[in-house]
Protein backbone atom coordinates (compact mmCIF):
# COMPACT_ATOMS: atom_id res chain seq x y z
CA UNK A 1 0.00 0.00 0.00
CA UNK A 2 1.28 3.35 -0.94
CA UNK A 3 0.31 6.90 -0.22
CA UNK A 4 -1.19 8.60 -3.23
CA UNK A 5 -2.55 12.00 -4.13
CA UNK A 6 -5.36 12.11 -6.63
CA UNK A 7 -6.71 15.31 -8.10
CA UNK A 8 -9.91 15.17 -10.08
CA UNK A 9 -11.43 17.94 -12.16
CA UNK A 10 -15.17 17.59 -12.48
CA UNK A 11 -17.45 19.27 -14.93
CA UNK A 12 -18.33 22.68 -13.43
CA UNK A 13 -22.00 22.26 -14.29
CA UNK A 14 -22.32 19.39 -11.80
CA UNK A 15 -24.24 20.34 -8.69
CA UNK A 16 -22.75 19.97 -5.25
CA UNK A 17 -24.83 16.85 -4.60
CA UNK A 18 -23.65 15.18 -7.78
CA UNK A 19 -20.04 15.92 -6.92
CA UNK A 20 -20.57 14.35 -3.50
CA UNK A 21 -22.07 11.33 -5.20
CA UNK A 22 -19.11 11.02 -7.53
CA UNK A 23 -16.73 11.40 -4.64
CA UNK A 24 -18.41 8.54 -2.80
CA UNK A 25 -17.75 6.41 -5.84
CA UNK A 26 -14.09 7.29 -5.45
CA UNK A 27 -13.73 6.95 -1.70
CA UNK A 28 -15.99 3.90 -1.37
CA UNK A 29 -13.74 1.48 -3.27
CA UNK A 30 -10.67 2.73 -1.41
CA UNK A 31 -12.12 1.69 1.92
CA UNK A 32 -13.36 -1.57 0.39
CA UNK A 33 -9.95 -2.48 -0.94
CA UNK A 34 -8.49 -2.08 2.54
CA UNK A 35 -7.13 1.37 1.85
CA UNK A 36 -7.66 4.56 3.76
CA UNK A 37 -8.83 8.01 2.78
CA UNK A 38 -6.59 10.42 4.64
CA UNK A 39 -7.76 13.79 3.46
CA UNK A 40 -10.24 15.26 1.02
CA UNK A 41 -9.66 18.83 -0.07
CA UNK A 42 -12.21 20.65 -2.14
CA UNK A 43 -10.65 23.49 -4.05
CA UNK A 44 -14.03 24.38 -5.51
CA UNK A 45 -14.52 25.97 -8.86
CA UNK A 46 -11.33 27.22 -10.46
CA UNK A 47 -10.49 28.76 -13.75
CA UNK A 48 -8.65 26.39 -16.08
CA UNK A 49 -5.40 27.53 -17.66
CA UNK A 50 -6.70 26.31 -21.01
CA UNK A 51 -9.97 25.00 -22.34
CA UNK A 52 -10.84 21.38 -21.71
CA UNK A 53 -13.74 20.27 -23.83
CA UNK A 54 -14.79 23.89 -24.37
CA UNK A 55 -15.03 24.47 -20.63
CA UNK A 56 -13.36 27.35 -18.89
CA UNK A 57 -13.79 26.22 -15.29
CA UNK A 58 -13.59 23.01 -13.38
CA UNK A 59 -14.50 21.76 -9.93
CA UNK A 60 -11.32 20.53 -8.31
CA UNK A 61 -11.15 17.86 -5.66
CA UNK A 62 -7.92 16.64 -4.13
CA UNK A 63 -7.76 13.34 -2.24
CA UNK A 64 -4.92 11.93 -0.22
CA UNK A 65 -5.28 8.20 0.23
CA UNK A 66 -3.54 4.95 0.95
CA UNK A 67 -4.42 2.36 -1.63
CA UNK A 68 -3.13 -0.81 -3.20
CA UNK A 69 -1.58 -0.11 -6.62
CA UNK A 70 -4.13 -2.28 -8.41
CA UNK A 71 -6.90 0.03 -7.24
CA UNK A 72 -5.13 3.06 -8.65
CA UNK A 73 -5.13 1.42 -12.06
CA UNK A 74 -8.81 0.64 -11.67
CA UNK A 75 -9.57 4.22 -10.57
CA UNK A 76 -7.73 5.51 -13.61
CA UNK A 77 -9.85 3.30 -15.87
CA UNK A 78 -13.07 4.51 -14.26
CA UNK A 79 -12.12 8.19 -14.51
CA UNK A 80 -11.49 7.76 -18.19
CA UNK A 81 -14.93 6.30 -18.72
CA UNK A 82 -16.64 8.87 -16.54
CA UNK A 83 -17.74 11.78 -18.67
CA UNK A 84 -18.21 14.18 -15.77
CA UNK A 85 -14.48 13.92 -15.00
CA UNK A 86 -12.61 16.39 -17.17
CA UNK A 87 -9.14 15.48 -15.92
CA UNK A 88 -7.54 13.39 -13.25
CA UNK A 89 -4.05 12.89 -11.96
CA UNK A 90 -2.73 10.44 -9.41
CA UNK A 91 0.78 10.75 -8.11
CA UNK A 92 2.69 9.07 -5.32
CA UNK A 93 2.57 11.49 -2.42
CA UNK A 94 5.89 12.98 -1.36
CA UNK A 95 7.20 12.03 2.04
CA UNK A 96 6.17 14.65 4.50
CA UNK A 97 8.87 17.17 5.17
CA UNK A 98 8.62 18.03 8.84
CA UNK A 99 10.70 21.16 8.34
CA UNK A 100 8.04 23.53 7.14
CA UNK A 101 5.39 22.91 9.72
CA UNK A 102 7.38 23.48 12.90
CA UNK A 103 8.41 26.82 11.45
CA UNK A 104 4.85 28.06 11.49
CA UNK A 105 4.46 26.63 14.98
CA UNK A 106 7.52 28.45 16.23
CA UNK A 107 6.24 31.75 15.02
CA UNK A 108 2.95 31.11 16.74
CA UNK A 109 4.74 30.30 19.99
CA UNK A 110 6.91 33.36 19.73
CA UNK A 111 3.88 35.55 19.24
CA UNK A 112 2.14 33.85 22.14
CA UNK A 113 5.21 34.26 24.33
CA UNK A 114 5.60 37.88 23.38
CA UNK A 115 2.08 38.96 24.24
CA UNK A 116 2.11 38.02 27.95
CA UNK A 117 5.48 39.70 28.34
CA UNK A 118 4.03 42.92 27.02
CA UNK A 119 1.05 42.54 29.35
CA UNK A 120 3.28 42.29 32.41
Amino acid sequence: MKLYETTIIFDPSLEEARVNEEMERVTGPIAQAGGEVIEVQRWGKRKLAYLIGKRRDGTYVHVKHKSPPTLVAEMDRRFRLNESVLRHLTVIAPKESPKEEPKAGEEGEKAAAATPAVGE
Binding site: T7, L48, A49, Y50, G58, R87, L89, V91, P94
Partner: protein, 80 residues
Amino acid sequence: MARDGESRSFRRKFCKLCFDKVERIDYKDDRRLTRFITDRGKIVPRRISGTCARHQSQITEAVKRARILALLPFTSEQYR
Protein backbone atom coordinates in the same frame (compact mmCIF):
# COMPACT_ATOMS: atom_id res chain seq x y z
CA MET B 1 32.28 55.92 -13.46
CA ALA B 2 32.30 52.43 -14.83
CA ARG B 3 35.12 51.54 -17.17
CA ASP B 4 34.43 50.42 -20.69
CA GLY B 5 33.60 46.75 -20.85
CA GLU B 6 32.60 46.76 -17.25
CA SER B 7 29.57 48.88 -17.85
CA ARG B 8 27.47 45.76 -18.13
CA SER B 9 27.48 44.91 -14.46
CA PHE B 10 27.72 41.25 -13.70
CA ARG B 11 25.74 39.80 -10.95
CA ARG B 12 26.20 36.28 -9.84
CA LYS B 13 23.04 34.25 -10.29
CA PHE B 14 21.84 32.24 -7.39
CA CYS B 15 19.12 29.71 -6.91
CA LYS B 16 16.14 31.54 -5.47
CA LEU B 17 14.67 28.35 -4.17
CA CYS B 18 17.81 27.48 -2.24
CA PHE B 19 17.78 31.00 -0.89
CA ASP B 20 14.22 30.53 0.34
CA LYS B 21 15.20 27.06 1.63
CA VAL B 22 12.42 25.37 -0.28
CA GLU B 23 12.53 21.65 0.43
CA ARG B 24 10.11 20.46 -2.17
CA ILE B 25 8.25 22.18 -4.95
CA ASP B 26 4.64 21.20 -5.12
CA TYR B 27 2.79 20.93 -8.41
CA LYS B 28 -0.28 22.34 -6.67
CA ASP B 29 1.54 25.56 -5.84
CA ASP B 30 0.86 27.21 -9.18
CA ARG B 31 1.62 30.70 -7.91
CA ARG B 32 5.19 29.79 -7.11
CA LEU B 33 5.58 27.91 -10.38
CA THR B 34 4.44 30.83 -12.54
CA ARG B 35 7.73 32.50 -11.63
CA PHE B 36 9.55 29.77 -13.53
CA ILE B 37 7.61 29.82 -16.77
CA THR B 38 7.78 32.42 -19.52
CA ASP B 39 4.78 34.39 -20.68
CA ARG B 40 4.42 31.81 -23.41
CA GLY B 41 4.22 29.08 -20.85
CA LYS B 42 7.68 27.64 -21.43
CA ILE B 43 9.84 26.48 -18.56
CA VAL B 44 12.62 29.01 -17.94
CA PRO B 45 16.03 27.39 -18.50
CA ARG B 46 18.57 27.22 -15.73
CA ARG B 47 20.99 29.52 -17.50
CA ILE B 48 18.40 32.27 -17.25
CA SER B 49 16.83 31.69 -13.89
CA GLY B 50 19.97 30.48 -12.16
CA THR B 51 18.23 27.67 -10.33
CA CYS B 52 20.33 24.78 -9.09
CA ALA B 53 20.09 21.35 -10.71
CA ARG B 54 18.09 19.86 -7.88
CA HIS B 55 15.46 22.54 -7.89
CA GLN B 56 15.32 22.80 -11.66
CA SER B 57 14.44 19.14 -12.00
CA GLN B 58 11.78 19.59 -9.34
CA ILE B 59 10.39 22.60 -11.18
CA THR B 60 10.26 20.65 -14.43
CA GLU B 61 8.32 17.82 -12.89
CA ALA B 62 5.97 20.13 -11.02
CA VAL B 63 5.23 22.31 -14.05
CA LYS B 64 4.44 19.27 -16.15
CA ARG B 65 2.07 17.94 -13.55
CA ALA B 66 0.43 21.32 -13.10
CA ARG B 67 -0.13 21.51 -16.84
CA ILE B 68 -2.05 18.26 -16.82
CA LEU B 69 -4.33 19.70 -14.18
CA ALA B 70 -4.80 22.92 -16.14
CA LEU B 71 -3.22 24.94 -13.33
CA LEU B 72 -0.61 26.16 -15.79
CA PRO B 73 -0.91 26.55 -19.55
CA PHE B 74 0.86 24.34 -22.07
CA THR B 75 1.00 27.39 -24.29
CA SER B 76 -0.30 30.89 -24.12
CA GLU B 77 -3.34 31.19 -26.33
CA GLN B 78 -2.91 34.80 -27.37
CA TYR B 79 0.12 33.94 -29.48
CA ARG B 80 -1.69 31.43 -31.63
